[in-house]
Amino acid sequence: MSDFKVSFRENSTVHIMDLKGYLDAHTTPHLEEAFQKLITEKKYNILVNCKDLSYISSAGLGVFMAFIEDVRMNKGDIKLSNMSPKVFNIFDLLGFPMLYEIFKDESEAVKKFEAKS
């Protein structure tokens, strides 16, 4: 139940993280490491694909907040896509759509990144 995995993909401009499973207080360190890894590699165009994300807790949401400032200061962004309605609801309740761009589909987000660069 509390299985959580992050995997990385990338195309020319965007670094895509695929989140899978249940993101709660126990599993957030994995996500934190993943962000840290990209940022130390100076990869600031980050797209988080939430297709297989089944749950996110407040601690999980906090991870996004922890890195967004850093990423945007380096002219990058964290965008999210492919959320299930349930996961979107959690993001939405807290007002995350006002802080992050959230896309229905990954390709739209990639386009947005590419358009900018």
Binding site: M1, G62, L93
Partner: protein
Amino acid sequence: MIKRFESPIQPIQGMKIKKILFVTGSAFLFAIVFVIDAILKNIEGGLDGVLYVRILLAAAAFVLLYFYVDMKVKESDRSQVQRIGAVAVWAGILIGAYIIVSILPLNWFESRDLQLYPRDYLTILFSTVLSVVSGLAAIVTLCHVQDMLFYKRTRGTKRNFVLLLIVMFGAAVSTYNLRPLDSSVVTTILFTLSIVLIIINSFRLSWIAYLSRREKIYAMLYALLAFFGFMAINIILSEKSSLAKALLYFNYPLYMFVQLAALFGSVYFGMAFISTLFHLPTAAAFDRKQNEVSSLHNLSRLITQVFDFNDLAKTVTKMTLEVCEASSAWLEVLPADGKLYDHKLDGIISQHNIEPEDVEQILFGGEHTVRSLVLSSKKILLIENVKSDRRTSYMSKVKNVGTLLVVPLISHDELIGILYATKEIDHGFEEDDVNIVSGFADHVTIALENAKLFKKSLEKERLQRELLIAQEMQKRLIPQTLPLFASVDMKAISAPALEVGGDYYDIVMLDDYRIGIVIGDVSGKGVGAAFYMAEVKGIFQSLSKIYSSPKQFLVKANEALISSIDKRSFISLIYAILDTRTGELILSRAGHCPMLYISSDKKEYVKPTGMGLGLRAGTLFEETIEERHIRMKKGDVCVFYTDGVTESRSSAGEEFGYERLLELVSRHRSRTSDEIKEEIIQGVWNYTDEHGYDDDLTVFVLKWQGAA
């Protein structure tokens, strides 16, 4: 020596009375014997019947003396060596008495028909005194020797000794009707048999093995003195000297008994002397073993008794010094998980007989030190000659170290410390020493681990207590009671998942008829969340009275929080103001779960937009906040809650969810707020399995009863 246990006063007094009785009793009996002798001197030929009475009286007197001596010997808590000393002293006293008496100008006896006739009363007196002293010395000797024989006794020990006593008494008694200068076959046989038994008993010398080297030397000296003393007594008594005659005149059985006792003394202590002499070369080794055993024993006792890490370390190095007679020793404790100390000598504890500079030089004086060698090999390292060994060439500045022993302390394959011992001379540690110390190291490891674990568990207990205090304090941060209004029926409950949590609800009277209700949830759980929750309480209590609209309140609360909150934490909140006269509810939401509103014609989640507190500052936040107005009708129910309710999971992993909550409340909407609250809690409880409920959970139910 062990301090004697102070027994209560009563028995000691009893003992004293007994002792006095024994001594005075025997003195009285001896006096009677003397008087009889004095009278008999004037009766030609003597009286046979009276002679037996006299022997019996003397025997009874000696029995009383025996009781006295036995009590004294048992009371005194003497070591074996002291016993030999005491016996030697008694032999000396006896010889002294003999010498004094023999230089006195006495007339002694006239002998006729193997019978002795004292020439005067003084002779009778001295014979009596001499006999009493001799008998007393014999008794003291036997009592002490008995104790020595019985040290670590085997099955035969007591039997042999009792047999010897019986035969000795037999030999003595067999002479009861002999004239002083006579002898008999029976007596001779029993005497010979006694000698055989004396020799057999004299092999019981097991106490020697357990003496330290120093004690052995004293034992030898005393045994030699005792041996010569008893030999001298034997010689004096066997020559038919005046002294022997004095005893013979007094009592033939006594003479026999004293002679046998002296013989026993000389054989036993002669054997003791020789045996100790042979034990002497191995005494040092025995001492070492003894030391080792007692050190290990002490250590294993320490393991269970001493939990203070530093105390333990001190004892450990001190014992290392004892165990292998090292000249210096110290212990290095390595930090867990490969961390480093602030200063490289921080791990060195309890140095004995060595300067810190020397320790630093030995441990860190070169690139490849003995320390780094042991760190990588995890094996015992013995440098036999520090001056010439190339592994210790970097240690040239260090004086007074000839041999160096480095022992790793390994627990579960992990190096937890290193024990160091040095000796001033080279080749100072024998193979035996190394074995001892390595065995010792295992115990030390366990002891240190125990001390660590104990400290950890103490720490844990302390934290647990602190948490309980925090829990108590947090309970006081939420309202103990809610204000009562005829128009509103309210009930709330909050339960943290851990000891403390981040859920919060509160209520405040804004004026006589308006109440402010807040419910919130700090991201995360536990102590961190609890701190923010306390901060929110402070903010709510102060700002709610100043800002009369929910939106204004949230904006100001966000301003207050944003500067102090960690960037990955945030707080979700709903703030509602209820007019208790009209039932008008104004609410704003900051990222919190929407309010459930159940009316006769409407069932909905009221979800004005609004971002969580602590995410964005200033207008960015303000712009997102909406305000909603609801005019409640009689019987309408509002439920505020935290995500602990909707996100609780069933064993299948499915969430309780919004639908289920809405359905549950609308089903029970006609009931009281308390009942509705209970239904929600029960519903969530029944829905989840034991692991499903792992978040803080808060429910606030408000029911409008209609304007009063």
